[in-house]
Symmetry: C2
Subunit: 321 residues, 2 copies
């Protein structure tokens, strides 16, 4: 949302990425969550920031919703690792004018998240600042670590409707209300249980959560290990809320679905030799997952729509600094 800077998050990540892994730090910087090992117990750790007027606005959400969302968003990174979330800490940056009631409402958002996700707030820190912000760090146990490594000709799936959260945000800006879409933006529910099941069964070759937009996160997913990999997805196969058409043009819907972000749905690829057992498992357990395309070796991310193939550039939402 803020594009004042001359370099972006990917550039910054490169600066940090040189960090080596070790026998106790298994995946290196750049994955959704860090995977560490302490005395044979694998843990996944991730942190995420919510900054006023960058990641949220008080006019669009209550303080409790903002606090809840701060936990959700951090948790989504653990979901993407197939981890079992256990604990979180928070750092609050509190501006002048914040009342005790505001703090109580912030706490309520954390308590709601504790109940909803069966996790526990274990501590935090409170600092004075000119800008209200919440930094959440989540910690979970990890029994089945999936190193990101899609191969060619693997099927690509998502776990639910794409574009709804961004539609909800746009509706709030337009001062319109559609409960389903707006809630998907305000209080996203990461698919933790689904992710745990899929990773425990060994189906996955790679998984990510959709944060910055389907297009950019798909690129991150398939190119994480191999720059030569690409993907082609089919517009009609991407699950979308029917409500989108009530409020937005086709062009806008296309943009929101591909580049909107804030979905916090899972995006994953299935190992070729597990495809059949995955399909059986999905059917037998009535799981909500949606095939949207296939990986390939073109090195490009493409989408087919009405029999036309469109190449997607780095148009997804990248945090600009």
């Amino acid at each position: 949302m803020s594009k004042e800077f001359s370099f972006d998050e990917i550039d910054i990540l490169k600066l940090f990425r040189n960090d080596k892994t070790s026998t106790s730090f298994l995946n290196g910087i750049g994955d959704d969550a860090a995977v560490i090992k302490i005395k044979n117990q694998k843990l996944a750790v991730s942190c995420d920031s919510q900054v006023n007027n960058v990641h949220f606005k008080f006019e669009f959400s209550t303080i409790s919703q903002i606090a809840f969302r701060a936990v959700s968003v951090a948790l989504s990174d653990l979901a993407a690792m197939g981890a079992n979330p256990l604990f979180f800490t928070n750092s609050l940056h509190i501006p002048k004018g914040f009342s005790k009631r505001d703090i109580t409402l912030t706490k309520k958002g954390f308590t709601d998240a504790e109940k909803r996700f069966n996790i526990q707030l274990i501590g935090g820190n409170i600092a004075s600042s000119k800008v209200f912000a919440i930094d959440v760090t989540v910690i979970g146990s990890l029994d089945n670590y999936i190193p990101r490594g899609s191969l060619k000709d693997e099927k690509i799936y998502v776990s639910g409707n794409i574009g709804s959260a961004n539609a909800g945000l746009n509706l709030l800006k337009m001062k319109k209300v559609d409960k389903q879409l707006v809630e998907k933006y305000r209080t996203p529910i990461p698919k933790v249980e689904l992710a745990k099941r899929l990773s425990s069964k060994g189906f996955l070759s790679s998984m990510i959560d959709i944060t910055d937009g389907l297009a950019i996160d798909l690129e991150r997913l398939v190119k994480f290990k191999r720059k030569t990999l690409g993907a082609q997805i089919e517009w009609s196969m991407i699950p979308k809320s029917l409500n989108l058409e009530k409020y937005f043009s086709n062009k806008k819907i296309f943009e929101m679905v591909l580049f909107g972000g804030d979905d916090y749905e899972l995006l994953f690829t299935i190992k070729k030799n597990k495809q059949k057992s995955f399909e059986d498992y999905v059917k037998n357990n009535n799981l909500s997952v949606f095939e949207i395309g296939t990986t390939n070796t073109t090195g490009n991310i493409c989408i087919s729509k009405n029999s036309k193939v469109i190449k997607i550039k780095n148009g997804g939402y990248v945090h600009k600094f």
Copy 2:
């Protein structure tokens, strides 16, 4: 440093403190670090924020020093638990105008901390904000958890000079330089190894790190479990840098030592039945620890100076919001 608010950190802590402990969360909110248990492995987790113009100023420290200090300060909470620090994450809040070089220098501060403390940066998050801030979360293993529980008539110790860091900050404000004092403010080195040794030997009844000032942290230490406990310390026994007298009046030195804060030294009490073996251990291992007083049941925190006894009120540095 910011006193614009009508309530303070202690009030806020009370709101959060109701949180229950559980079999996997051993100490409840309010301790220096959270103690959690994952499959029989105890871990200590703590987070700390450094916000521009609240916790540091660019005119007093380089960006690398600020980043190093952000890790130090968070690590000091782990030291206070006797934990073995292993990993840390950071959330960076970056304002407009920050250059790539600034980010590289921030990263250098983290790398310096990794080397100095033998810990590993495992991940982070970068957000745009109007205010530069660094939130660090540290994770360590914990073999000997010391629940805070001083009893009466126990001896009180500190691990090094008190007041130096605050003196260093004051000198920077006065545009004077004294390398030793200024470094103690800019790049504090938490006493992690000492803390680990003391806790592994079972000497400690309670320990805390001095963050907000000797007086207020002494009160937190002795009253954590029992509000009826008190302490009396002796001014002449508190270790202080001789350099303080070069720059400051006796009155100012008294204030800096008792209420200055930013010391990041350990403050602890020794179990009565371990006092003799502790003294032997200190002597045999040539450890740098300093007895400064004794706990009692007066419910007050007092200091004797030139044979006068002064009762200390809540005058220590408490973050005001």
